[in-house]
Amino acid sequence: MTIRLLDPTTINRIAAGEVVERPASAVKELVENALDAGSTQIDITIRDGGQSLIVVRDNGSGMSRDDLELAVERHATSKLPDDDLMNISTMGFRGEALPSIGSVSRLSLTSHDVTTNQAWILSVEGGQKHDVIPANLTKGTIVEVRDLFFATPARLKFLRTPKTEQGHIVDVVTKIALANPTVGFSLRDETRQLFDYAPADSLKDRLADVLGADFVQNALGIEGARDYAHVSGYVGLPTLHRSTNQHQYLFVNGRPVQDKLLGGAVRAAYADLVARDRHPMLVLSLTLPTDYLDVNVHPAKTEVRFQDTQLIRNLIVSTVRQHLTQVSHLTSTTIHQAAMDAIQLFEPRGEHRRPSSFVHMTTEHNHSHGGHHGTPKGFTTYAPQKAFETMGAHVLEARRVFSEPDPMDIMLNDDTSIGYLGRAVAQVYETYIVSQTETDMIITDQHAAHERLTYEKMKRQLSDHGVVKQSLLIPEIVEVTEPQREALLELRTELETLGLTIDAFGLTSIQIKELPSLLAGVDAKALLQDIADQLTHMSPTLTLQEKVYEICAELSCKGSIKAGRKLSVPEMNQLLRDMEITPFSGQCNHGRPTYIKLRKADIEKLFGRT
C-alpha cells in the first residue's frame, strides 16, 4: 500500500474526534468563541441533546466576510496575534473548533460585521464549504450546528441518550456561566427554558442563580495571593457537602478545569473537616500570568499545567483553610433547616398525607374559629407535639435530667461571655445538650463536640512542642522509582519537621531512619510508598500530616466524653464556651455537625404563635 497525504476533510474529521467528543464539547467551543468575541449575552438553543440542533447566538464583535471564510479553515484563528503560545489569554487559540465541527455536521455561521455594517452567512456541510452570501443580522454572530456527527456515523453510535447529552451541555454552560458572571447566559431545549442567567454584577449574584440560595448562605468569599498567583471565590462550610465533587467548580484564568492538583488542594484544605467520602461545595477562581501556565495540554483544554505546582497548591490550601478557620465553628444552615423540616414534614400514624404547609394550617385553624367549635379538622392530623416526640425531646426526659441551677451556674450565667451557643438548659438522653440564646434553641452532640475540642488541642500541642522522633534500629529500606527518589529527597527537610527522617540508599531506594513516635506501629514502608505515590498530584507531605492527625483523631475520640455521660449544667456551659473559641468546632473529626440550631421564630411558627 502506498503512503499518501490525507485529504483536508479527513484530517478535520480526525481532529474533530479529539475536539468535539460529544455535543457538549461543541457547545463549549462555540460559547468560548462567543466569549472571546466580547459578548455580554449568549443564548443557546439545543434539540435532542444537541445532536440535531445547537444554536449559539451572541452579541459580540462579529466577523467580516473574509474572516468568515477563513474561520472554517483548519488552524485559522483570530486569537494568537503574535503566534505566542507562551502567552495565551483567550479561551481558544488552536483554531480547530469551527473546522472540526464543520467537518462532522451541517454548520452555518451568520455574522454581522461592524465596520461595513453588513451581515454574511456561510454554511459548511460535512466539511464542504458553500459560498458566502449576504444575510440579515444586526449584531453579533449566530452559529447553527445541525445533525452533529452525521458525517461520522461511528461517533454518532456512541452518543448517549439525548437526556444525558443535555445534562452534559447544562454542566458545561453552567461552568462557563460561573466563570463569567457578567455575561448573561440562557439555555433552552425544544420544550422549555433550562435556565436564564441575567448578567450579574458579581460572582455572588451568579452563584445564587446557579447553585441556589443555600450555597450562598453557607459559603464564604475568599481571597488570597502569593507571588504572582491570586485566588478568589466562594467556599462552602464544611458541613455543606455532597457525595460527588461535581459541585466543585475550579477555574484557571476564567477557564473551567478538572485538575488533580487543584482537587487535591481542595481535599487538603478540607482535611479533617469533611468525611473522606464527602465533597465540599466550592467555586474557586485562580488567576495567574499566562506565562506561568500551560493550557495547551489537551484539545478540550480541561487540563492545565502549572509551572510551580507547589506554590499554587499552598496558595489554595492556606487561603481556603485560613478563611474556613474564621467560620469553622458554624454549621451549615441547611442542617438547621433540615431539622426544622423534619418536624414540619412529620406524617402522623403513617398517613401518606403531607401537611401542605403551616400557612395553610393556620388559615384553616383561624377559619375554624370563625366557623364552628371543636377540633379543627386539619389540626388533628397535623401534630407538632407528636413530631417532637419522634425528634426525641421527650419533655419528661428533659425534666428528669434537668439539674437545678447551682450558684456556680448562676455565676456563669451572669457572665457576659456567653456566645452564640447560648446557655445550657438541659441534657437529653445523656447525649445532647440543649441550650438557648435569645433567638435560637441549640442542640449539641456532646461527644462530637468534645472530640473536636480534644483533637484541636492535640494538634496545637503537636505544633507547639514539635514532633518527637523515634530512631529506627534497623532502617527501613523502601524501593521507589528514580524520579520518586529524587522528589522525596528534595522534600527531606519538610518531612523531617514532621518527624520522618529519610536518606538516600542506593540508586532506587530510600531508607527511613526516624519516624514520628506517634506513628510507632504504623507500616513505615507503606507510608513512604503512599507519600511517593502522592508526589505527582498533591502535596506528599500532606499524606504524612494526615496520618499523624489520623492517629490524633483516634486518640481524641477515645479521650473525649462519650454519649451517655451525664453532664452538669456548669460542665455543659464550659463545653459550649470552649466550642465558641475553638476553630472547626462546627463539625466533628468525621465531618458530622456538632450542633443544630432551631430558630425561636420557627418554633413559634410550629405552635401557631405568630
Partner: protein, 370 residues
Amino acid sequence: MKITLDKNIFLNALNQAGGIVERKHTMPILAHILLQIKDHSLMMSSTDLDISLVETFPVTVEEGGKVALPAHLLNEIVRKLPDQPVYLTRSNGQVVLECGASKFNISCLNGDDFPAIGNGDSYAFKFTMKAWELRYLIDKTKFAMSMEETRYNLNGICLHVTESKGDVVLRAAATDSHRLACAQVQVPEGAESMPSIILSRKTVLELSKFLEKHEGDIQVALSGFQACFKAGDSFMSSRLIDGTFPDYERLIPYDNQKVVVADKKHFLEAVERVSLISFDKMRPIKLNIHDNRIDISAPSSEFGSAKESVDAQYSAEPLDIGFNGRYLMDLSHISSEGQVEIRLQDSATAALITDVGDDASLTILMPMRV
C-alpha cells in the same frame, strides 16, 4: 467414654487450650478441643491449625473413646464448678458432665473430625534442652517482639546457634525495629548445627505457659516448617514463621565507651514517675547524665513538667539522650533488681543495656529525639 477427672487439673489444661483455640471460627471443629483416652490417661488436644497443643494427664477410666467438646464453653463451666471430681459420660450424641449437684448435657462433635496433630517424631532435627534454659531465652526477649503485622518476620523470637566470645551458644533475639533484646545459653548437645528458626508471637506466649507447667527436659524437634516441644507425653507444636530475621549482630554497639551504672529498681521507678506527666502515649523522657548522676526529665506538656535525679556511676563527659519511657520501663521484664549498665556513644546512636552480672542477655535501645 466414661471418665472421672480432678477438677483443678482439668481446668488447668483447659485454660491453656483456651489460649490456643480462637473464639470465632468458620470451621466449628476448630472451636472445640479433642478429648481422647489412651490407656489410663486423657489426651486433650487443641489447635488453631498453626499451633497445636496436646496435654496428657492421668484420669480414672471406666470406658475409653474420643469426643470433641466446645473449648470455651467447657472452660467456663469447669471454672465455676465446685472443687469435686468431675464425671464425663458420653450418651446419645451429647456429653454429660456431672460435678457435685450440677449436671450439664453438652452437645459435642465427632472426635474423628478433629484435625490430626503431628507429634514431631518424624521431624529431621532433634535435640534435648532444659526447660529453664528455654524459659530464660524467651523471658529475656519476648517483650521486644514487634506487634506490626506487616513485618511478619519480626513478630516473634528468632532462635539460632552462633558464636559468642569463643563459645557456641543458642541465642534468642527479638526486635520491633526500635529496640532489640537477645539472650543466650550454652548450646544444648546435638543442637550445634540447628537451623535458624522464628517462633511466632502466639507460639512464644503459649510456649511460655507450657514451660511453666513442664520442668525438666524438653525435646525439641524441628522440620523445615514446624517446631515441636515435647515434655513427657505432652507436647506443643507450631508452624514456624517463614522469613529471615535481620542480621542484628552488627547493630550491637559493643564499642560504646560511656558507661553509666545505676540501681535498676530506683532508675526504672524514677523513669515511671517522671513519664507520668507526658501526654504523648510514647512517654518520651530525657536523660541528662553527668558526674555520677542521671537527671531524668519529661518535656513539658499541658500537664506541666517533671524531673527526678538518681545516683549512678558515671565519669565520662556529660551526655543528653532521649528515650521512649515505655521501652525503658520494659527493661523490668528482664529483671527488676540489681544494677543496670547503660553503654552510650552519643545522643543519636543506639544504647547497649545489660544487667550487671548477667552476661547472657542484653538490650539495644534506639534513642528518641525529644
